[in-house]
């Protein structure tokens, strides 16, 4: 093979790689932004400070009620000793827990997980206690800290 032929061959290879690389770059340039567009917008606007979730009378003593705050479900329990608030999402597999008024404990309907009124696990599969939220009553309004 003469020197000239060798030159031509590498030139051809070079162009071929340039073309293939260009096509791959173009496709990547289209697909990658499209994936970022498809990513769900999970970053919620920040909810700061205390949020008013209702009047004190809306939460009868001994009962529990769920409220939605920043896309999350929160279980508010009104005990004789005061208000308590926990994330209503069970730490086992994400079902929503309920306040059992008679047994005075929090129960998960999915796999029989039970929690104390302080959020700690009594029995069942949940691996962790429920996350607690700060809750106070100001001028008759129930305020939840996000």
């Amino acid at each position: 093979m003469s020197k000239e032929n060798q030159m031509n061959l590498s030139q051809r290879d070079f162009l071929s790689w340039l073309l293939k690389g260009g096509v791959i770059l173009t496709l990547a340039g289209f697909i990658l932004p499209a994936i970022t567009y498809l990513l769900p917008l999970t970053r919620q606007a920040p909810v700061g400070g205390m949020v008013d979730v209702g009047k004190k009378e809306d939460f009868p003593t001994g009962a529990g009620r769920k409220v939605i705050l920043g896309g999350k479900v929160i279980l508010v329990i009104h005990l004789a000793s005061g208000f308590r608030a926990f994330s209503a999402t069970c730490t086992h597999l994400g079902c929503l827990v309920d306040w059992d008024e008679k047994k005075r404990q929090i129960a998960c309907p999915c796999h029989a997980g039970f929690f104390n009124s302080d959020g700690s696990v009594i029995s069942g599969p949940p691996p962790r206690r429920l996350m607690a939220y700060v809750i106070t009553v100001v001028n008759g309004r129930v305020m939840l800290s996000a």
């Binding site: 932004p33 567009y37 498809l38």
Partner: protein, 353 residues
């Protein structure tokens, strides 16, 4: 698993040699020497159709076709998800460019006499594709549910109501009720994202099949075309494919450039109680809209209905043998007169109050 193993596995199940032959035949098929940059208008139309499908799918992820949510969801797309604004702009600009490019493709075919025997059916399908592209534009225009869209659609469907006998029924059928509302939005949405894409997809398939089977038209007279032998003419690959590649990249640049420099505004949400001042249709309907103003309602609508029919049936009206535009002065004259009319009425409409 190596490449050879995959080929061997497929070889035991399919006649790979025959498939390779068929592919080679298509790839190496020679094109006539007169193939020019103007012959990339067809593939440009196809690129734009594909772009519309892809950006359309992305928009569908967040778009919601209800009266309460349509406007807000488009606003959401334009502000929240990463590059959402770009996908909406490329879709809107792509729609406008597609109508322009398909029309230019049709003009090329008309003036080069490429619609003549034996390619009459290719023309008929092409004319249908142009009409469906316009319907795409009309139905898609309503979907953002802004003031302009709402009232342009009100006027557009009102024109259909002027057709004698079936007009009122047609209007109500299109609107899904007496006025534009949620029912209209649902109807237009289904036409825009389900019916038309598939219809156009299959028509493009048939159009391309005919182009490949019958070959590209030359300037020779009807029945005097010379069949190209292998080794003659311009090879489809790589010569013409390279040209199309260049055009594709230019088109992508133009689409993104226009989207950034001249974005379409969303405007205000549709208000059925408030008609905005000086409502006008999009530029591609403007010449027809302006023409209607000068003619008695019935005559105007009759002429609007004749337009597509003449367009579709043109190969059966113009059956002369010559293809070169200078050798068929009458049809070339009609073609030029039509273009002048469209431009004049379009400009009159643009300047009118």
């Amino acid at each position: 698993m190596s490449k050879d193993q995959i080929i061997a596995w497929l070889g035991e199940r399919f006649d790979l040699k025959r498939i390779q032959e068929l592919v080679d035949q298509q790839v190496k098929k020679p094109l006539p020497k007169n193939i020019s940059w103007l012959h990339t208008l067809g593939s440009m139309s196809l690129f734009l159709f594909i772009s519309q499908i892809l950006t359309g799918i992305l928009l569908l992820i967040y778009y919601r076709p209800t009266v309460n949510e349509a406007f807000e969801s488009v606003k959401f797309i334009m502000t929240k998800p990463s590059l959402g604004w770009l996908y909406r702009q490329v879709h809107a600009w792509g729609a406008n460019l597609m109508i322009l490019i398909v029309f230019l493709h049709m003009l090329r075919t008309f003036f080069m006499g490429a619609f003549k025997k034996p390619r009459e059916i290719t023309w008929v399908i092409g004319a249908l594709l142009f009409i469906f592209t316009l319907v795409f534009g009309f139905t898609g225009y309503l979907l953002p549910w802004n003031q302009l869209a709402y009232w342009a659609t009100t006027v557009g469907t009102e024109i259909a109501g002027g057709i004698p006998v079936i007009g009122e029924w047609t209007k109500i059928f299109l609107r899904g009720g007496a006025a534009i509302g949620g029912e209209t939005l649902s109807r237009f949405f289904v036409i825009h994202v389900i019916i038309l894409p598939w219809l156009v997809f299959f028509l493009i398939g048939a159009h391309l099949l005919l182009v490949r089977v019958q070959g590209i038209s030359t300037m020779e007279k009807v029945d005097q075309e010379i069949k190209l032998k292998e080794g003659e003419g311009t090879p489809f690959f790589p010569h013409h494919v390279l040209k199309e590649g260049i055009v594709l990249y230019l088109l992508i640049g133009i689409l993104i450039g226009l989207s950034i420099l001249l974005p379409f505004e969303l405007g205000e949400k549709a208000d059925p109680l408030q008609t905005p001042h000086a409502i006008k249709p999009e530029w591609y309907f403007l010449p027809m809209y302006q023409m209607l103003k000068y003619l008695p309602k019935l005559l105007g609508i009759l002429m609007l209905a004749m337009g597509p029919l003449i367009l579709i049936g043109w190969p059966f009206l113009d059956k002369t043998k010559a293809r070169h535009p200078r050798q068929r002065p009458i049809s070339t004259g009609i073609g030029i007169a039509m273009i002048v009319l469209l431009i004049v009425f379009g400009l009159l409409g643009h300047w009118a109050d």
